[in-house]
C-alpha cells in the first residue's frame, strides 16, 4: 500500500519544542493591535487571503496544520489533533500500539502520545482533561489566528467537572456565521 501525507491526515510531530510553542503563544495572545489587524483583514478579502496563506504555510510546516480554522494547539501541547487520522480532539483512540504507534499508520507515532508527552513535560497536562467541542466545519480553510484574535475561539472547550459540563450546544462564538 502506498502511503503519502496526501492520503488524509497524518500524525505529525511538531518541528517546534513545546516550550518554545508556549512562549511563542504568549506573543500572539489577543491584544489591541492584533484585534485591529484581524478586523482590517476581515474587511479586505485579498489581504485576508494572503494572511491566511501565510498562516497555512507556517503552521503546515511546523505542526502539519489541516486549517480547521479553530486551533486546538494551545490545549494539546502544541501537537495538532487534526493530524490524527480520525481527527480526534479529545484524546487518543483505543487502538494505539503498545509502543505508542498510530493504529492507522503504524510507522508513525500517535499524535496524542506526542501531545501527552509534550503537555505533561511542560506542566500543561491538565489541558488534556478539557472537553473539546465538535469542529465547526464552516471554518475549514479560514484563518484561526483571525478567529482567535476576534474572540471566536473562546468557547472551543469546556471544563469536565464533577458537576457536569453544560449540554453540548452550539458555540455562541462559532454560530456567528
Amino acid at each position: 500500500m502506498s502511503d503519502s501525507p496526501a492520503a488524509g491526515p497524518w500524525p505529525t510531530r511538531p518541528h517546534l519544542s513545546a516550550r518554545s510553542a508556549y512562549a511563542l503563544h504568549a506573543l500572539v495572545a489577543p491584544r489591541k493591535p492584533y484585534r485591529w489587524l484581524a478586523a482590517r483583514l476581515e474587511q479586505h478579502p485579498l489581504l485576508r487571503r494572503w494572511f491566511t496563506a501565510g498562516e497555512r504555510i507556517t503552521k503546515q510546516e511546523i505542526f502539519g496544520c489541516q486549517m480547521c480554522g479553530q486551533c486546538a494547539l494551545p490545549a494539546t501541547g502544541y501537537a495538532c489533533p487534526m493530524t490524527c487520522p480520525k481527527q480526534l480532539r479529545n484524546g487518543p483512540c483505543g487502538g494505539v500500539s503498545a509502543t505508542g504507534q498510530c493504529e492507522v499508520h503504524p510507522e508513525m507515532r500517535c499524535v496524542w502520545v506526542i501531545a501527552f508527552e509534550r503537555a505533561e513535560r511542560a506542566g500543561h497536562g491538565a489541558d488534556l482533561d478539557l472537553l473539546q467541542r465538535p469542529v465547526d466545519h464552516r471554518e475549514t480553510g479560514r484563518s484561526s489566528w483571525v478567529n482567535y484574535w476576534l474572540g471566536r475561539d473562546e468557547d472551543l472547550w469546556a471544563a469536565a467537572t464533577p458537576s457536569d459540563p453544560a449540554p453540548l450546544l452550539p458555540r455562541p462564538a462559532g454560530a456567528r456565521r
Partner: protein, 339 residues
Amino acid sequence: MSTPTTAGPASPVSAAAAAPADHPRPTGGLRAAIASGRFVVTAELGPPRDASPDTITRKAGFLRGWVDAANVTDCQGAKVKLSSMAGSVLARAAGVEPVMQLTCRDRNRIGLQSDLLGAAALGIPNVLLLTGDHPRYGDHPEAKPVFDLDGVQLTWTARTLREGTLISGERLEHPPGWLIGTVENPYAPPTQFRARRLAKKVAAGAEFVQTQYVFDVERFAAWMAEVRTLGITQRCAVIAGVGPIRSLRVLEMLSTGVPGIYVPDEVGRRLRGVPADKVEAEGISLCVETIQQVAEIPGVRGVHVMAFGFERGVPDIVERAGVGPRALARVQGVTGHAD
C-alpha cells in the same frame, strides 16, 4: 458501594413496557441490574454480513437468560454487517436486551443524532458510543472516514439529547431515555491518560463503560485504582472486558495483529504449555479465572464477555465463573427466567 447515577432526568424507556407483548421478555434489564448493585454480565452479539435475521436470532438464543444485555456491534473492524439498530431490534425480539453500538466512523452529527433518536423510538434501552475503527483496515478501505464527532463528543451529544435538545439547540418534545455506555482501553498508551480519558467521557455523560480485553489482571487493577481515585466508580459502572483465547492461532493474532489488545507473556506460556487438543479448554478456564479475579477488584461492576463466533460458549463461561442472572437466580433459589 453506592449505585451509580443511572437514572437520567428523562424517564427511561422501559424495556419491558416497550416490547410487543408476544415477544419474550428480556431478563430484567441492564439499567436495573446496575442500579441493584449486583455483578452484571454483558456479551457481544455480532450481526452477520447478510440480510437474514436468523443469525442474530440463533446467537441470541445462546445468550438468552445468561446475560443482562448483549452489545450489537456497529460494523466492527470497519467491515459491513447488518446494522446495529436492526440487529438490536432482532436481539430484543429474541429475548436478549440489546446494547446498540454506534460509532463515529460512518455518520456525521446529523446521522448520529437521527439514529440515537430512532433507537429510542424502537425501544432500544442501551446505547454504547465509540469512536470506531478506521476504514483503512476494513473491507472497504477506499471509504471516506467520517469522524465528524469523536467518541467523547458523541457521548456528550447523547447526554444532550437525553436532556431534551439536539446539539443545534432545538428542543425535543420526547427525549430519548436509553442508558449511555462507552468504552475504554486501560492498556493503550499513553497509559497514564487512560483513566483521565474515561473521566472525560463520564463527565460527558457515560453511565457505564466496557473495557478492552483484560488479559493482564495486575495492570487492570492498577488502572482501576486510578479510576477509583478520580471518583469515576461513583458515577459510572465499570464492566471489565474478557474473552476466551481458544487456539494458538488466535493467541498469535491477538498478540501481534489487533490494535489495542495486549496479551502478557504468561498467558502465552500457559496456553503453549498444554497439549494442542487442550488449548481451547485452557483458554476457557483462563477466561473463567479472569472473571473471578476482576470481580474481586473494588469498583468492578461486571464483565463483558467477548467471544466472537463462540456465543454458544458464553453460558458455560459465566456458569463456571458463577456470575450473571442465572447464577443470581440460583443463589436466591429463584427458578423463573426468560426461557
